[in-house]
């Protein structure tokens, strides 16, 4: 069995090593280039399609639970008309981090296929666990997705309420706390917070 497999692999290796007989070098390099453009372009297009709100809420699990909750928050509708959609907060913008997150998201495909959260009751039962994943992720990357828009260096404390200015100029400035430590549940409903630090 293994000897057979090794023989096949060797055959492929021999073919790959041999110079082309029928195709010119120009055809192979240009063809390779064009195929590369098509594959890479296709990959990136698929990636950006999977990074839209429309894609996220094409699953009823997302549309009927978290998307409904988002709609009444300031990240959905506000005076200046800036909106944060699902991927703005849940997918890293940096390419390598984004791919890493997308690979993790294969677990979500598994969940979709097996209906892990396909009823409101099941979603509610999982809410704490799901929330904890997001808190852990944002804690680990120092609230990177918040900071993509909310840059600490650009904050004007004089325009904040006194309470906010106090907190931001002490705990946040010293790096002792990060955004998610205090700003939990700003875009979705909170789970039962029994035992969560700071609640």
């Amino acid at each position: 069995m293994i000897a057979k497999l090794l023989a096949t692999l060797k055959k492929i290796w021999v073919v790959l090593r041999k110079p082309s007989v029928h195709y010119s070098l120009g055809f192979l390099t240009l063809g390779g280039f064009i195929a590369g453009v098509i594959f890479w372009g296709g990959f990136n297009t698929a990636l950006s399609v999977s990074n839209t709100e429309a894609f996220c809420i094409s699953c009823h699990e997302m549309e009927n639970n978290v998307y409904q909750e988002l709609q009444s928050t300031i990240h959905f509708t506000n005076r200046s008309g800036v909106r944060a959609t699902c991927p703005d907060c849940h997918v890293p913008h940096n390419w390598t981090d984004k791919i890493a997150r997308k690979m993790q998201a294969s677990k979500e495909v598994w969940g979709k296929v097996f209906g892990t959260i396909n009823t409101p009751e099941k979603f509610e039962a999982k809410r704490r666990e799901l929330a904890e994943h997001e808190w852990a992720r944002l804690k680990a990357n120092d609230s990177l997705e918040c900071r993509n828009c909310h840059n600490f260096d650009y904050m004007d404390f004089t325009r904040q309420s006194q309470r906010a200015a106090n907190m931001h100029s002490t705990s946040l400035a010293s790096g002792e706390k990060t955004c998610i430590d205090c700003h939990k549940g700003i875009a979705h409903q909170l789970p039962d917070m029994q035992g969560v630090e700071g609640w």
Binding site: S161, L190, G198
Partner: protein
């Protein structure tokens, strides 16, 4: 601003809902009470401009000793339900060190037989039943409430005259 002029947000909302939708929020004359809509039925009147919530974080003086203190900040989107009480994430005893917010009084931990409980008493759990943020709004109805201290002072003055 005179604290008496500030009416609670809850009161304002209820008054606005039941009162006319005229742009200037003034007291409703008695003869108009029967037609609170103040616009023909086939016309959609323009609602008044939304009022801003006072977000000064400065404690308001209570109008009478037993008044539930009003909230001097915005509470937009605060989740208070069976799962979580957002207010308590600052106003609980254990949280006041970090938040520097006033602690909810011990009466909130007492049941109606005055037994102290470990957690908030269920009858005191829903903060906005008594505590409300304030709007920087004009008075909708005149208020002739006289505070106790003013009465005492008036009394003393009267005695001094005799």
């Amino acid at each position: 601003m005179n604290p008496l002029l500030r009416i609670s947000a809850a009161a304002l909302v209820s008054v606005t809902l039941t009162s006319s939708f005229n742009a200037t929020a003034e007291a409703i004359p008695a003869d108009k009470i029967a037609t609170l809509r103040e616009a023909p039925l086939n016309v959609e009147p323009t609602p008044p401009v939304m009022q801003k919530v006072i977000n000064s974080d400065v404690k308001e003086v209570r109008n009478y000793p037993m008044q539930p203190p009003v909230i001097p900040h915005k509470i937009d989107g605060y989740q208070v339900n069976l799962k979580v009480n957002k207010c308590m994430s600052c106003h609980a005893r254990t949280r006041t060190g970090d938040s520097q917010a006033p602690m909810v009084s011990v009466t909130h931990y007492m049941d109606r037989e005055n037994n102290f409980l470990a957690e908030l008493s269920p009858r005191r759990y829903f903060c906005t039943q008594c505590h409300v943020p304030q709007l920087d709004a004009k008075l909708l109805v005149p208020n002739d409430f006289v505070d106790m201290d003013t009465l005492i002072k008036a009394d003393i003055n009267k005695e001094a005259e005799h």
